[in-house]
């Protein structure tokens, strides 16, 4: 299912690819058919050209021998008549000229190569009395015909009458006497024009070449020869090479027809595209349908297996659907629930409240239900078991119908846990309070008899000193001293206990001024111990209880000069930028690393009181407590004989800023 959805985009891509390639192939085929059809069309035209050129050749080849024969007959008749009179010859020649279209003129050339008789005269006046030796080509042909005593065809020449053609020389020998030539003037234009029907020439261009000489040309300038549609037919006749090129004259015919090809092409492409688009949408809808099906199944499975129970209600607040988790929570089958009101799942007083709800988005909030908020209500099972239930209702619209989605969660375990936790917290805070009170009251109550003992010792000494003697006085003094010592221990214990109980007033203050106050409080003691307290560098503003912080400094400073054997005892106070902590450093005896955090233990003393003077051993414990009460940390770095650096931090500065 999930894979189907995962692959859907790939499938869509595949569909697009198939459709696209189909369209491309289809367009390609259309174009190919179009070009094939044009080619076919051209081939048809070419075939026409071929046919026409062959027809021209056929006419050429079939008419030429007749003319040659006719001229030969003219010569033979000359020989038979031994020089016919001009009138007879003229009639004869006129017949031939009339019969053979390509024959422009028949002439008699005398043995000096001068044209004497010309038939017909009209149009050929320029040939009369023309000395044919004027041109090498003609002379050579005449010489060749005379010498070989056989007819000779000249190469294509420019006719003196105009136009292009060639000449056929028939030498006349009467017996051994050379009497000149019968000369046939072939006019290619005349020949071709007579050969070809008007219609035949009308739609085609024709060009006839002999060698490189254009003998005949009937063409329109707009279309040049193209081998695709035209054809050049080559043949040899009487030793002369002929090329007949035929190609269609106009493109109009072609364009008229080819527009059909274009229409077909455009049609083909359009149909391909349309078919492609249609196919694409079909595929797409098929794929999306399968995606929708897969997603639908996924949504159903998700809902069914959600951690919370899900119940949907219609616009009247009647249950429409129930998921598996909700079935489990209420231990009822969905068939049992669908069609019922939501309120049947709730215990009183919620059952009544929800039964009275108007299930309308606007009006729902007037009653007990708050849309979009989880409310703690009570659910009820069929057997009457009531349990705490979290119920959140949201609303949505489908096809203009207002529906509601209820998310339900059995919170019995959480509620039980919370109750137990609350109970434990209460017990703990009670026992803490009792402990605090115990320490306070105990130490307070301890003090009174202690003081009384001391007082009575004093009174005893005052009233009976003379009787007691020096030994008795010493013992009484000792009693007073020990009582005082115990009192100090109790005081420290009381103070320590009070530090834990009180919630100090916090404020922002300047550390340097706090150090100054502490210094002045200690001034006598400092002088007595030859000690100096210095401050170096700047301090960030401190947030805390100034009185307590001064006590903290007080304890650390005392510690600094008390356990110090230097002549000049120096206690420096600075802010360490790297550690972001205040540092109280001394040049004292240092602390052996083995003691670690033991220095902070109450009444723990590392040195003999005889060596370093009296103290309860609560100073560092109190210092630690003050720092902890400020949300900070205290630690030290030390090396025996090299002094000690006590570091302490207070609450995070950012929090302090927020707190102000």
């Amino acid at each position: 299912m999930i894979n189907n959805i995962g692959n859907s985009s790939q499938r869509l891509k595949l569909a697009v690819a198939v459709v696209l390639s189909g369209v491309i192939i289809s367009v390609f085929v259309s174009v190919h058919i179009w070009s094939l059809s044009i080619e076919q069309h051209n081939l048809l035209i070419k075939l026409t050209s071929v046919a026409k050129s062959e027809l021209i050749e056929h006419h050429f080849v079939s008419s030429m021998p007749a003319i040659i024969n006719a001229l030969e007959r003219m010569r033979n008749r000359w020989i038979a008549r031994q020089g016919p009179p001009f009138s007879e010859w003229q009639l004869d020649a006129q017949d031939y000229v009339n019969d053979h279209a390509g024959l422009r003129a028949v002439e008699w050339v005398n043995k000096d190569y001068v044209v004497k008789w010309v038939v017909p005269l009209k149009g050929n006046e320029s040939a009369v009395d023309l000395d044919l030796t004027f041109e090498a080509n003609r002379k050579q042909a005449l010489d060749q015909a005379r010498d070989l005593k056989t007819y000779t065809l000249s190469k294509p020449v420019q006719l003196v009458q105009g136009g292009k053609g060639f000449l056929a020389y028939f030498p006349i020998f009467v017996g051994r006497e050379f009497e000149g030539f019968i000369l046939g003037v072939f006019d290619v234009s005349l020949l071709v024009d007579s050969l070809l029907p008007h219609k035949f020439i009308e739609d085609h261009n024709i060009e006839i070449l002999s060698g490189n000489e254009v003998m005949y040309s009937k063409k329109e300038a707009e279309l040049t020869y193209d081998d695709k549609t035209g054809h050049t037919h080559s043949f040899s006749l009487y030793g002369v090479q002929w090329d007949i090129a035929v190609w269609p004259r106009k493109i109009t015919g072609v364009t008229e027809e080819s527009s059909i090809h274009y229409v077909a092409l455009v049609n083909g492409v359009l149909i391909s595209l349309l078919a492609g688009v249609a196919l694409f949408y079909l595929l797409k809808s098929l794929i999306s349908e399968s995606i929708i099906r897969a997603k639908d199944a996924e949504h159903k499975a998700t809902l069914e297996n959600a951690i919370d129970g899900i119940i949907t209600l219609d616009s009247r607040g009647v249950i429409r659907s129930v998921n598996g988790t909700a079935e489990h929570i209420f231990a009822r089958q969905r068939g049992d629930l669908i069609g019922q009101k939501l309120s049947i799942l709730l215990a009183e007083p919620f059952r009544t409240e929800y039964a009275q709800c108007v299930w309308d988005k606007e009006r729902l909030n007037e009653g007990c239900v708050e849309i979009g908020k989880v409310q703690r209500v009570a659910g009820v099972l069929k057997n009457g078991h009531v349990f705490p239930l979290d119920l959140g209702i949201t609303t949505f619209e489908i096809h203009k119908a207002q529906l509601f989605c209820c998310v339900v969660k059995d919170v019995s375990a959480a509620v039980k846990l919370a109750q137990e936790k609350e109970k434990l917290i209460q017990q703990l805070s009670k026992s803490n309070e009792e402990l605090d009170n115990f320490a306070y009251i105990a130490s307070h109550d301890l003090k009174e008899p202690l003081r009384a003992i001391q007082n009575h010792a004093c009174f005893l000494k005052e009233d009976y000193e003379s009787i007691l003697g020096s030994d008795g006085v010493y013992k009484l003094d000792r009693l007073v001293y020990l009582g005082a010592k115990m009192e100090r221990l109790i005081s420290d214990l009381m103070y320590y206990s009070r530090l834990g109980r009180e919630e100090p007033d916090m404020a922002r203050f300047n550390m340097v001024s706090a150090v100054k106050s502490t210094k002045s409080r200690l001034s006598e003691s400092l002088e007595e111990h030859n000690a100096e307290v210095t401050v170096s560098g700047d301090f960030p503003a401190v947030y805390g209880n100034r009185t307590r912080i001064e006590e903290l400094l007080y304890n650390l400073i005392i510690n600094g000069y008390k356990y110090n054997l230097s002549d000049k005892k120096i206690i420096n106070i600075r802010f360490d930028e790297n550690l972001k902590a205040c540092c109280v450093e001394d040049n004292g005896i240092g602390i052996d690393a083995q003691f670690g955090d033991e220095v902070f233990k109450i009444f723990k003393r590392l040195n003999s009181p005889k060596k370093f003077g009296e103290g309860s051993g609560a100073g560092l414990t109190i210092a630690q407590k003050i720092v902890e009460r400020h949300g900070g940390r205290i630690w030290y770095e030390s090396e025996l004989g090299n002094g000690t650096r006590f570091y302490f931090t207070l609450k995070d500065d950012n929090q302090n800023n927020e707190g102000q």
């Binding site: 307070h444 003090k447 008899p449 003081r451 001391q454 007082n455 004093c458 005082a484 009070r498």
Partner: protein, 144 residues
């Protein structure tokens, strides 16, 4: 001349009372009459009884805070709320130096708050000063 300015001491501890008394008598000339109440209720009973020559109105009250039963704070409150008693100066004399106690007592109308010194010498000194102040320097309201 017998001074009629009565000192009322509310103190449950015999030892403390003895020490205080000794401090008062230390310079040997305590001319004031002195009355001791052992607990809060005892003190209120004394104070609520009409004054007479045998039952003098106290010129000053020394009040311990930690008393059995009705404790010193409540006694102080009752004194200061009573129109008949409120003009009597009350000196709180206690072992407690808890700031909360100090603040509370002044709020309730205590005139002085003294922590019982730990050392006897200091106690003697404190009581001497107290005596000097209240009976030599300060002018007290006239008794009814």
């Amino acid at each position: 001349m017998k001074d009629s300015k009565l000192i009322l001491i509310v103190e449950d501890s015999d030892d403390d009372f003895y020490a205080t008394l000794r401090a008062f008598k230390r310079d040997g000339n305590l001319s004031n009459p002195l009355h001791r109440c052992e607990d809060g209720q005892d003190a209120l009973d004394y104070l609520n009884t009409p004054w007479s020559d045998e039952h003098l109105k106290p010129a000053i009250i020394l009040l311990d805070l930690n008393l059995p039963g009705l404790d010193g704070r409540r006694v102080l409150k009752k004194i200061k709320q009573d129109k008949r008693l409120c003009n009597i100066p009350v000196v709180v004399l206690t072992t407690s130096n808890d700031e909360k106690d100090i603040e509370e007592c002044y709020d309730l109308g205590a005139n002085t708050y003294i922590q019982k010194p730990v050392k006897l010498d200091s106690l003697f000194e404190a009581i001497q000063k107290l005596k000097d102040y209240w009976f030599q320097i300060a002018i007290l309201p006239k008794g009814d």
